[in-house]
């Protein structure tokens, strides 16, 4: 086939194959790949991320993992996080945030807050339908909107959530073991001191809890 215009003809054959093929390609595999959004939603892969959210365990007030350490606020490359630490009635700083705002009109979804968080508190969500008519009210997500349960986290990133839970559990066990060991040590020290005291027949024991 080397008549003039054969290249164009060949190209048109390819176009025709693609056009008619799309009517018979029901498996969405090769040619017909259109996703019928919004009726048909994409199944996002597990790793998919969009904006951050805060994880809580159980109760959204008491179970909040965030301790307002402000590491993510400092590390956030576009500086879209604002945290204010909560205070009790005497003005003493509490280990929880009073204000936790994420401005999703600035957030670039880079996940660096997640990596820098030492308390497994901030995680990436995969919501994307967040368009709005107003920039000033609805695009700054306050703490109430950011808080989502650990179950939700498990539902969107199961593998990662399981790993996180295992890490938290391991840390808790380690802490408990350490506390136990410390208690044992202290008890042993106390016993030894008492024994020493008894041996020396001293009038008063030295160590107190």
């Amino acid at each position: 086939m080397n008549f003039p215009g054969s290249g164009i003809f060949k190209g048109m054959v390819v176009s025709a194959i693609n056009l008619f093929g799309s009517y018979f390609d029901r498996a969405h595999a090769k040619r017909l790949i259109t996703e019928q959004y919004p009726e048909e939603r994409p199944t996002l892969p597990e790793a998919s991320r969009s904006f951050p959210f805060l994880v809580f365990d159980g109760d959204p007030e008491k179970g909040i993992r965030c301790v307002a350490c402000k590491i993510c606020e400092k590390e956030c490359p576009p500086q879209c996080i604002l945290i204010e630490q909560d205070r009790d009635e005497n003005g003493k700083l509490l280990r929880r945030p009073k204000v936790f705002n994420i401005d999703i009109s600035v957030c670039m979804g880079c996940q660096i807050c997640v990596e820098s968080c030492p308390f497994e508190s901030i995680r990436m969500d995969n919501i994307y339908e967040v368009s709005s008519y107003d920039r000033f009210d609805s695009l700054v997500l306050p703490k109430e909107k950011l808080l989502k349960s650990n179950e939700y986290y498990h539902s969107i990133h199961p593998t990662e959530a399981a790993e996180t839970d295992a890490r938290i559990e391991a840390a808790r066990l380690k802490k408990e073991a350490a506390a136990k060991a410390a208690a044992q040590k202290m008890a042993a020290a106390k016993a030894a001191a008492e024994a020493k005291a008894a041996a020396e027949q001293s009038s008063q024991p030295e160590s107190q809890a």
Partner: protein, 373 residues
């Protein structure tokens, strides 16, 4: 706007862009024409100057990583790689083997999807806005799905870390990628059948925008544009960074240095990338993916400077970093291949018809995020 030059002939000054359907973003050219022939061409930059270099001086070393995604936004992962490589040079960080293989895999897939999109865009520049772009993007979506499964985002991956990569391949990803790459040559064959024999395409590309090897070197062209002029220079071979010395591949070269060579070179490069990918899939070892010596927070490289470069899909992507030993870079400079490949745009375009300017620009394959930073 007409004006009479010294010879008394009438010339016409036209400003092409920044809003022009074929300028790949907000690129502008001031073109002086004599009839339809270009006599002078001045590119105007800066319409997407996002102050990346200034911002980086105020961020932590890691904090600039997501910003590199947005340089050449068609291939973010190779930008990550270039930056990570430069910092690794600066701080003398070793990268584990598995991470190097993962980098090669995602890097070559990025190259494939960039060149695929190029095939669509250059047809768009020629006026065939439609089928080719649709086919190219249909294929590109499949690679983006793989990227999303791995990095979590379709485009802005933020995947590399100093001394490795951020996360390991999820279960089953490698098999999916391998299966996909096996189907890719069929698409490329179809695309070649669709395009490369087409007489209109040939007449639009052949003999247009010719660039000699000597001028190309002097003008600092890099990547496919340099090789299309017949220069055998591929940084993957020359520097041998990563695990490229362990992988067998050829470096395709052009002979004439015209737009058609640049077009075909991309197709040949895709085929070589597929070869590289297949070897990498076979060789990838188990092991750690991140050098444990590198801290996430408070990373401070030693005082000094380094220039690291990779062979990006568009050309030599280099990072010149100056560190004063602090948590932030003292100077962070990018060598953007897209900008420097435009150095010789005027030389390529003068003497051609105005309609060819778009084709020449398309064949250089620029991305404005990188041109203006």
């Amino acid at each position: 706007m007409t004006e009479a030059d010294g010879a008394g002939a009438q010339t016409l000054d036209v400003s092409l862009g920044p809003q022009h359907p074929s300028t790949h973003g907000v690129f502008r050219m001031n073109v002086r024409m004599d009839g339809e022939t270009v006599v002078k061409l001045q590119p105007v930059f800066g319409y997407l100057h996002r102050n990346h270099e200034k911002l980086a001086e105020g961020k932590s070393w890691l904090g600039s990583m997501p910003f590199t995604d947005r340089l050449d936004y068609i291939c973010p992962i190779t930008n990550n790689w270039g930056y990570a490589l430069a910092v690794e040079k600066l701080a003398g960080i070793e990268v584990p083997d598995r991470a190097e293989y993962i980098r090669v895999i995602v890097g070559e897939m990025t190259r494939i999807q960039n060149h695929t999109a190029f095939l669509g865009f250059i047809l768009g520049d020629m006026g065939a806005w439609g089928s080719a772009l649709m086919y190219a993007f249909r294929e590109r979506e499949k690679i983006l799905d793989l990227f999303e499964g791995l990095t979590g985002a379709r485009m802005m991956a933020n995947y590399m870390r100093f001394g490795g990569v951020r996360c390991d391949l999820p279960a089953g990803w490698l098999e999916k990628a391998r299966a996909y790459i096996e189907t890719y040559p069929a698409f490329l064959d179809e695309m070649e059948k669709f395009l490369t024999g087409n007489e209109i395409l040939l007449s639009r590309l052949q003999g247009v925008g010719v660039m000699s090897a000597e001028r190309a070197i002097n003008g600092g062209l890099s990547g496919p544009v340099l090789r299309a002029s017949g220069v055998d220079y591929d940084i993957r071979k020359v520097d041998g960074y990563g695990v490229y010395p362990r992988l067998k591949f050829r470096v395709p070269r052009g002979t004439v240095g015209d737009c058609f060579d640049r077009f075909m070179l991309r197709i040949l490069e895709i085929r070589e990338s597929i070869q590289i990918l297949q070897q990498a899939f076979a060789q990838i070892p188990q092991g750690p993916i991140l050098n444990p010596a590198v801290k996430t927070r408070g990373f401070k490289p030693p005082v000094g400077e380094a220039y690291g470069r990779i062979e990006g899909p568009k050309g030599e992507l280099g990072f010149h970093l100056v560190s004063d030993g602090g948590e932030k870079p003292y100077r962070y400079h990018i060598r953007p291949p897209s900008l420097i490949n435009l150095t010789l745009l005027e030389e390529m375009c003068v003497g051609t018809k105005i309609a060819d300017v778009m084709v020449i620009l398309g064949s250089i394959d620029i991305v404005l995020g990188e041109v203006d930073r």
